[in-house]
């Protein structure tokens, strides 16, 4: 009896571990995810823009957060700051050079759990041909069944990058050297 209980408990534990190490696809199709950025304009206001086209997936295990991974690929030409001429400039040689560097990639290398659902995602961002480690301050917003038979978990995160680190040296002024990223990712469990 005791042995049977132990066996059953072990089995249940094993199953739940495998059930929790789930793969999620970021719901870009339903646009429940976004890659937004903001940069100071002259130091007087924030200019907000976004990348409209990207894809990504992550693994998430709420009991073993450190084992989680996330990969995102962004189409650089989809940059959108709601201004045709500025976007053309951003796609061009002064900034993203989207013809030469059509994709920006983020690949996590480790996840550092924090408190209150907060955690840090450390990973490599490859942007404009430069690969550099960045840290995303992230937290879990919520998760559970959706009304259409699926299961979702959603997160948001922020990170700060310096344009010159990624070999973008067009002078936008002393207040505009860094770009803050604001990331939303709702994943659908596969």
């Amino acid at each position: 009896m005791k042995l049977r209980t132990f066996a059953a408990a072990s089995l249940a534990a094993l199953m739940s571990v495998s059930a929790w190490a789930d793969k999620y696809t970021i719901d870009t199709e339903g646009a429940h995810a976004s890659v937004e950025f903001k940069i100071k304009h002259l130091g007087y206001s924030w200019l907000v823009g976004r990348f409209n086209d990207f894809k990504g997936e992550f693994t998430y295990d709420e009991n073993n957060l450190a084992a989680s991974q996330v990969n995102v690929v962004i189409e650089t030409k989809s940059i959108d700051s709601n201004h045709a001429e500025r976007d053309k400039h951003l796609r061009g040689n002064d900034f993203l050079e989207v013809d030469e560097f059509p994709k920006a990639v983020f690949q996590s290398t480790k996840v550092i759990p924090g408190t209150d659902g907060k955690f840090q995602i450390v990973g490599d961002l490859t942007l404009h041909g430069v690969k550099k480690e960045i840290t995303i301050d992230a937290h879990h917003i919520g998760g559970g069944n959706d009304p259409w038979g699926g299961f979702r978990n959603g997160f948001e995160g922020t990170a700060k990058i310096t344009l010159s680190d990624f070999n973008m040296n067009f002078n936008l002024g002393p207040a505009s050297k860094d770009v803050e990223l604001y990331l939303q990712a709702e994943g659908i469990r596969q």
Binding site: H83, A84, E85, K88, R91, N171, G173
Partner: protein
């Protein structure tokens, strides 16, 4: 000088439009090249594109008017001393200049309106966007705008060389007809 053309003379309107367009094309080409080299903190960074676009739209309207004017006016005949090759070449060049001017300006308009925003003309009126949101529109239109502008300037240069050849080598009245009418 008469307002309208005759069989042998250019009228005031045709001559005025010719020289205004010539100045505008040269000014637009130079400003277009120059404004792309400006740094963000240059005082002309905002001003020059504003004038470039506003003058471009005005020139577009002027050229459309000129085409209408061409059809409701007699077209002065080429001088008898011109060879038939010169006549044909000149005619082709004139058609090419019209087409290139229109194409450059349409391409420029498609850059600025690629995201559905109109073009502000001297704060007087706005040209609304029509075609927009096409994949890669801004970059494609930008490339066309640039290459067609080089083509236009090249053809305009040829056109000017032709006029100078008539003036200094043939010593005929071709150039004077575009200044004094006859």
């Amino acid at each position: 000088m008469k307002i309208k053309n005759t069989e042998n003379q250019f009228g005031l309107v045709a001559i005025s439009v010719h020289w205004i367009a010539a100045l505008a094309v040269i000014g637009l080409f130079a400003s277009g090249l120059y404004m792309r080299s400006l740094t963000y903190y240059d005082s002309l960074y905002q001003v020059l594109p504003y004038y470039h676009k506003s003058i471009g739209v005005i020139l577009m309207l002027l050229i459309l008017f000129r085409i209408v004017w061409r059809f409701i006016n007699p077209q002065p005949k080429s001088l008898d001393t011109h060879s038939s090759l010169e006549k044909k070449g000149a005619k082709l060049a004139h058609i090419g200049l019209y087409l290139l001017m229109l194409a450059v300006m349409v391409a420029g308009y498609l850059i600025s309106t690629a995201k559905g925003h109109g073009v502000n003309v001297f704060d007087l009126f706005e040209v609304p966007a029509t075609l927009h949101g096409i994949a890669g529109q801004g970059d494609l239109a930008g490339m066309l705008h640039e290459y067609l502008a080089y083509g236009l300037l090249g053809l305009a240069g040829l056109h000017a060389l032709g006029a100078l050849k008539h003036h200094f080598i043939d010593k005929d009245r071709t150039l004077f007809r575009m200044i004094k009418g006859k």
